[in-house]
């Protein structure tokens, strides 16, 4: 079966599920949840960096979705509608916690600050050392504003104009936040790489002494 046919079949099946969910069919709600649960939860987890908050927000997002499902008329794709709703739920949560405003209002100084480089012997590249856990840990360590833009753009694939609209900022601000987020991630990952290399060196020296 071609990709187009597969996509069409998926959309048709989802449309049927939505129609059944609009009638209150529990199995349809369960099927919609199962189809989207991992992407929604992962988005919440990456935007908050906390499993408990991600669980609560996933729950809240699906509840809002199911409460509003009778108003869905299919003008936009269901997935787009759902993900926009999830992003709004998470942003609302971050704003309530007062985490987002500060970093988004920061003055854009990215063009003035020189980028950090290691002008020593340590000019090894990160290639081969970025694994899932290191990267997720680095993303979780980003300030919330940087993290949100980074996750939306680099992980979820949103465009800067969409991010600007969602976050009520300029596209320039979104681009600048993204660049700073990537630089911070690099700094964090290189620090981890150096730490790991030092640990390996220390244990090999200990081995030699034995």
């Amino acid at each position: 079966m071609s990709t187009d046919k597969t996509t069409a079949a998926k959309v048709a099946s989802e449309t049927q599920l939505i129609a059944r969910a609009q009638q209150g069919d529990e199995a349809a709600f369960a099927a919609l949840f199962n189809a989207h649960r991992r992407r929604v939860y992962s988005l919440c987890l990456r935007m908050t960096g906390d499993t408990t908050e991600a669980e609560d927000l996933t729950q809240e997002a699906f509840l809002q979705l199911f409460r509003k499902i009778s108003t869905f008329r299919g003008e936009s794709a269901f997935t787009t509608w759902l993900h926009r709703l999830v992003v709004n739920v998470v942003l609302m949560h971050l704003r309530k916690k007062g985490l987002l405003q500060v970093s988004l209002d920061e003055v854009d100084t990215s063009q003035e600050e020189p980028v950090k480089r290691d002008y020593g012997d340590d000019d090894r590249r990160l290639i081969g050392s970025i694994d899932r856990i290191s990267l997720e840990r680095a993303i979780a360590a980003l300030p919330p504003g940087y993290r949100t833009v980074f996750v939306l753009h680099d992980v979820e694939g949103y465009e800067h104009n969409e991010i600007a609209q969602i976050m009520d900022c300029s596209t320039g601000n979104s681009k600048s936040q993204l660049h700073k987020a990537r630089l911070k991630l690099r700094e964090y990952l290189r620090h981890q790489q150096r730490r790991r290399a030092a640990e390996v060196l220390r244990s090999s020296e200990l081995e030699k002494k034995r």
Partner: protein
């Protein structure tokens, strides 16, 4: 000489500063011959560019995480309480008579297993140690490496999960194919997370994030199995 320009930039060289100014736009897909040209000449800027591209591509490949089974249970309970769900049997309940021969206390047993596992995890969550490992595979694929979380107690946890998984495997053929597929996928995904976290825990015994992932993955698997057993036991 390659790199000389960058060493000058350490004190504020113009070529590297120009590279910095154009780097963000280049990464956004704009043409940047000066960025590429300079990156080929200067090892430090070349490393920076390679790192940034690596971060970008690794982020796009991040796998999706599985939410705990309680998330759906909570959503369903809330929807029921609000009267949004229509009181009707979902498709897999229609085959209810097929489960009639199964022993009654299955949901209770699953719940007891979950409580036992929860207590084990609670007791062990404070103490992690770099211990030798011994794989204790189950028939269904649960992976527990003894000593990764805490010596001795891991084995009890392994047995609990194995029992739950074996009980599930004995009943999964009675589930509706679509439901069975959902559970199968969830369990496979959780097994992959467990395996990945175990590798990290063994490689870096002090890695608390990996330990947290591991404990969460075990808990999630127990919840998924308990939920499947409850469904299969009806």
């Amino acid at each position: 000489m390659p790199g000389e320009d960058c060493r000058q930039f350490a004190a504020g060289g113009p070529a590297c500063r120009q590279f910095d100014r154009h780097l963000a736009a280049y990464l956004e897909g704009e043409d940047g011959p000066e960025v590429l040209g300079h990156a080929q000449q200067c090892p430090y800027c070349g490393t920076l560019l390679a790192d940034m591209e690596q971060i970008r591509s690794a982020s796009r490949r991040l796998p999706l995480d599985e939410p705990p089974a309680r998330v759906w249970a909570n959503i369903r309970a809330a929807l029921r309480a609000e009267g949004i769900l229509r009181e009707q049997a979902p498709p897999w309940y229609r085959s209810f008579p097929r489960f009639a021969f199964l022993p009654g206390p299955v949901p209770l047993g699953a719940f007891a297993c979950l409580v036992l596992l929860g207590l084990t995890l609670l007791v062990t969550s404070g103490g992690f140690g770099p211990n030798a490992t011994l794989d204790l595979p189950s028939r269904g694929g649960t992976m527990i490496a003894a000593g990764v979380i805490s010596p001795g107690l891991d084995e009890a946890m392994a047995r609990t999960l194995c029992d739950m998984e074996n009980a599930y495997l004995a009943r999964e053929n009675f589930l509706e194919p679509a439901v069975k597929t959902v559970y199968r996928r969830s369990l496979e995904s959780l097994d992959a997370s467990i395996q990945e976290s175990l590798t990290y825990c063994q490689r870096e015994p002090g890695n608390t994030l990996a330990q947290k992932y591991l404990v969460n993955a075990y808990k999630s698997k127990a919840e998924v199995l308990a939920s499947a057993l409850e469904l299969g036991g009806r």
